[in-house]
């Protein structure tokens, strides 16, 4: 147990502690206690920075299930460190923000912070874990914590709906990912990520390689809200705003990005990986940015913009994976820029999106609405929030001098470079990549501008709001101000993170390269080039679209706010429920007859198929006994009597015929030299008939069997099939026994019945001596039956439902 293990455990232990201390500390907002955890973790994780800056790593192991290769191995390198700092850093800011956002009297704070701490611990676990199974466990814990947080206001229908949706989609992806991990284990024999990376060489040729890759990608895409799995994210906006800021913009949705980045050394360099990431990323980027324009709810806009930005990062990881295909040298370094951009934008996005969500939360908190059709003219009333939003939105739109501008320029550079390559059959359609990215960026600019102008400009109408609108309290503004300060700092002095955070992360994703080889530097001003012209064109086109908004906002497609893909999810879920209900109703009829038919049909199929498959036809009838004449007569009578049974309508007649059959059975036993059986059969048949007569004498006559002819025919077919099968199998088994020519064990009984048993009646000696245990238990059966009969007759519940 190292200090790193304890660090991961701390949030969970605090989560246990919170409900205990909550009732005693109601005067202090619970968030203040919670704030200690992310702060301490952040500082602790910072201590690893010198190690990772030199390209080193920290590795600690803790035995858990060593026989299965599952150990809590933690591994801190550049990539893990970057994520862990993001999680704890923004976690701390979010907790601080939530202290002012959530009311300590009216909200169930102990629930909120328990879920939040659970999430924080799980998320740190995901990024630090080296063992795939441990990673998976933490992964599912984040899904669970996320669903709990989305449904925090569980009395709202939409919250529960959103929680269920996110749970179903992310857990679906989680299971796929688990399957992918297991395949990886099957190929490499280890769950350790580092060991798998070390064995990468031989993997690509394996037939399971592609399956593992697709399953792992499914997990990453569902978690990171890639098209078409993004539909859970807009509905997750029902969560309290601090949760949206933390989980659904900065951390959890980046778990998929983390997974892709972490496994890039394993899968990267393959054409499928490249195209899957690039296509999914670009489609998500474009779709998200276009849909965001249609949203009328501020959080809706931010949700779709998160989706779109995640797509951007994903596509960059895809383009950058080409560096692994290039092996080494100039070309590889050329493409590794995309990975650098992805890591840099990941950091940037976390800062500006976190601040934007917090700003939206403030607007919601102070005005009571998030609808951009109602908002307007808030610039002078909420100047600080206005400034925060302006910087965040400008950064998101990619305007200088903020950090979003830098990563957007680098994004264009990366995609423009991809057009120069001719690998992975990129040559012919490669030019599409920057074009699509450019179009998506125009829409990104547009929705940023729409949000900005609709919220803060125009006329202020107090009548739109239920509250008196004023600026937020100071405490609420601290966190977003810190975040936008980062946005500005990273924009102007990007190189402070270049060597410390970004470079180690990039070398973790591309372990073949050293830091020096990649030479990561950012510069705010990089001369007039294609990328800058593209940005200018974006601003121009975006502005034109914004000015002409009055015209195109009349289009039907703009007014339809809800994402059409939700329809497929809703219909799919409804359809699944209806389908399963229909299937259940179709087979679970509640009729004994139907169930017997299923059983008979199944037994027939199984027996018939096995019989046919094993080719068990065997009709050796050499040893059969000769049939005496009287047996024919008895058998004829017996068969006729039996065949009469179905046609009998009267109760008494049926009982008498059943009796006749029993007596003929006794006759058979007598003919086949079984005196004891004959005696027993005679006696028991008499008793049974008497019992039946006693029970059914006074009851009214049976109703004649009424059934549809088709049903009747079905009964006849099935019963005849059973009879024929029994006959055929019986004959076949009998002649098989003859062929095998085993001697019977009975010879022993016959020989020793007098010598050992001291009796001359072999059947009786077997019953009470050789195999006495059977008899004892058979007596027990009779005893139980008689007790049960007494209970049935004597013991009656009066009233109640048990009659």
């Amino acid at each position: 147990m190292s200090s790193l293990h304890i660090a991961i455990l701390i949030p969970f232990m605090m989560a246990i502690l919170i409900p205990i201390i909550y009732p005693y500390t109601k005067k202090i907002h619970t968030g203040w206690f919670v704030l200690l955890v992310p702060t301490a973790l952040f500082l602790y994780i910072l201590t690893f920075l010198p190690t990772t800056m030199e390209g080193g790593y920290e590795y600690v192991s803790l035995s858990w299930v060593p026989s299965l290769g599952i150990n809590v191995d933690l591994y801190v390198d550049g990539l893990s460190l970057l994520f862990a700092l993001l999680i704890t850093g923004i976690g701390g800011l979010v907790v601080l923000y939530s202290i002012y956002y959530l009311d300590k009297v009216s909200e169930r704070l102990h629930h909120f912070y328990v879920y939040l701490l659970m999430f924080m611990g799980a998320m740190v676990g995901v990024v630090l874990s080296d063992n795939l199974i441990v990673l998976y466990i933490f992964w599912e814990l984040t899904s669970l914590a996320s669903a709990l947080l989305i449904s925090y206001w569980f009395h709202r229908k939409a919250s529960v709906y959103g929680a269920q949706k996110s749970m179903l989609i992310t857990v679906f992806g989680g299971f796929a990912m688990l399957a992918g991990f297991c395949i990886l284990y099957g190929m490499t024999g280890t769950f350790s990520v580092r060991d798998i990376i070390a064995q990468t060489e031989g993997l690509a040729g394996s037939t399971l390689f592609l399956a593992a890759m697709i399953l792992v990608l499914l997990g990453a895409f569902t978690k990171s809200a890639q098209f078409p799995f993004h539909i859970w994210l807009p509905d997750a906006m029902e969560a309290p705003t601090p949760v949206s800021a933390y989980l659904h913009s900065a951390t959890m949705v980046k778990a998929g990005i983390y997974l892709v980045a972490r496994l890039t050394p394993v899968f990267g360099g393959d054409a499928v990986w490249f195209w899957a990431l690039v296509i999914a990323g670009l489609v998500t980027l474009t779709y998200g940015s276009i849909t965001a324009v249609r949203q009328k709810d501020l959080k809706g806009i931010l949700a779709y913009s998160t989706i779109s930005q995640l797509g951007l990062i994903m596509s960059l990881l895809g383009v950058g994976s080409a560096a692994l295909y290039m092996e080494s040298g100039e070309g590889a370094v050329f493409y590794s820029l995309a990975i650098t951009t992805a890591v840099f934008h990941l950091l940037n996005h976390a800062t500006f999106k976190g601040s934007l969500f917090m700003a939206v939360g403030i607007i919601d908190h102070e005005t009571g609405t998030r609808d951009i059709r109602k908002l307007g003219g808030l610039m002078t009333i909420m100047p600080i929030t206005f400034a925060i939003s302006a910087i965040g939105l400008a950064s998101m739109a990619g305007l200088p001098p903020f950090n979003g501008f830098l990563s957007k320029e680098m994004f264009f550079t990366s995609l423009l470079r991809a057009t120069e390559g001719d690998f992975f059959s990129l040559g012919t359609i490669g030019f599409l990549l920057p074009v699509i990215a450019w179009i998506a960026s125009v829409f990104t600019f547009l929705y940023c501008a729409v949000t900005f102008f609709k919220t803060f400009f125009g006329k202020f109408e107090q009548s739109h709001y239920e509250k008196t609108v004023h600026e937020a309290p100071f405490g609420m503004l601290i966190s977003p101000v810190i975040l936008v300060a980062l946005v500005v700092t990273l924009g102007i002095f990007p190189n402070i993170v270049a060597q410390s955070l970004v470079a180690p992360a990039v070398t973790s994703i591309l372990p073949r390269f050293s830091v020096d080889e990649l030479d990561i530097k950012f510069s705010l001003w990089h001369g007039i080039n294609t990328e800058l012209l593209m940005t200018l064109a974006i601003i121009f086109c975006g502005s034109v679209l914004l000015i002409t908004m009055k015209k195109w906002s009349q289009f039907n497609i703009y007014k339809r706010e809800r994402d059409p893909l939700h329809w497929f999810y809703d219909q799919g879920l409804d359809g699944l429920i209806h389908f399963s209900q229909t299937v259940t109703r179709a087979q679970m009829t509640g009729l004994l007859r139907d169930y017997f038919v299923y059983m008979c049909a199944f037994i027939l199929l199984l027996l018939g198929w096995t019989f046919w498959y094993a080719d068990a036809w065997s009709f050796n009838i050499s040893t059969v006994a000769t049939t005496p004449f009287f047996v024919y007569i008895v058998t004829a009578v017996f068969i006729v009597t039996t065949l009469c049974l179905p046609f009998i309508q009267k109760r008494m007649t049926l009982i008498i015929f059943a009796g006749i059959i029993g007596y003929i059975m006794a006759l058979y036993f007598a003919m086949f030299r079984a005196p004891d059986l004959a005696l027993t059969q005679l006696l028991i048949e008499t008793v049974t008939v008497v019992l039946l007569m006693l029970a059914f004498r006074h009851l009214p006559e049976m109703a004649p069997e009424k059934a549809a002819p088709s049903k009747k025919l079905g009964n006849i077919v099935i019963s005849a099939a059973v009879g024929v099968t029994i006959t055929v199998v019986g004959i076949s088994a009998y002649s098989l026994g003859t062929d095998a020519n085993f001697s019977s064990i009975s010879d022993y009984y016959i020989e020793n019945v007098y010598k050992l048993g001291g009796g001359t009646n072999m059947v009786n000696v077997i019953l009470v001596d050789f195999r006495g245990l059977d008899t004892m238990l058979e007596v027990l059966v009779l005893g139980i039956v008689s007790l049960a009969v007494i209970m049935l007759i004597k013991h009656r519940f009066k009233g109640g439902e048990d009659v």
Partner: protein, 112 residues
Amino acid sequence: MEILMFIVIGVLFTIGIYLLLARSLLRVIVSLMILSHGAHLLLLTMAGLNAEAPPLEHMADGGYTDPLPQALILTAIVISFGITAFLVVLGYRTYKVHNTDDLEKLRGSADE
């Protein structure tokens, strides 16, 4: 003779299953009696029906009928009698309580 008995057993099973699928509770009880007859006869037939002496030590010097299946059948007869007796009483009680022995009417509600 065994072939003949196998045919008889087939007939017993056919009628037994047919009655099992009926609507009346009494027919179902009778069907179980018929099916157990079929099973007993099958046990006996499978051991072979060569005409020899009954399994009593003093009846012959050798060539007895196989005693083991007879012991098995004896056990089976008693157990199936126990079950039949229980079913008869259960059917009787069902009739008394629900006033019908029609299984179609005795089915549970649709949601079960």
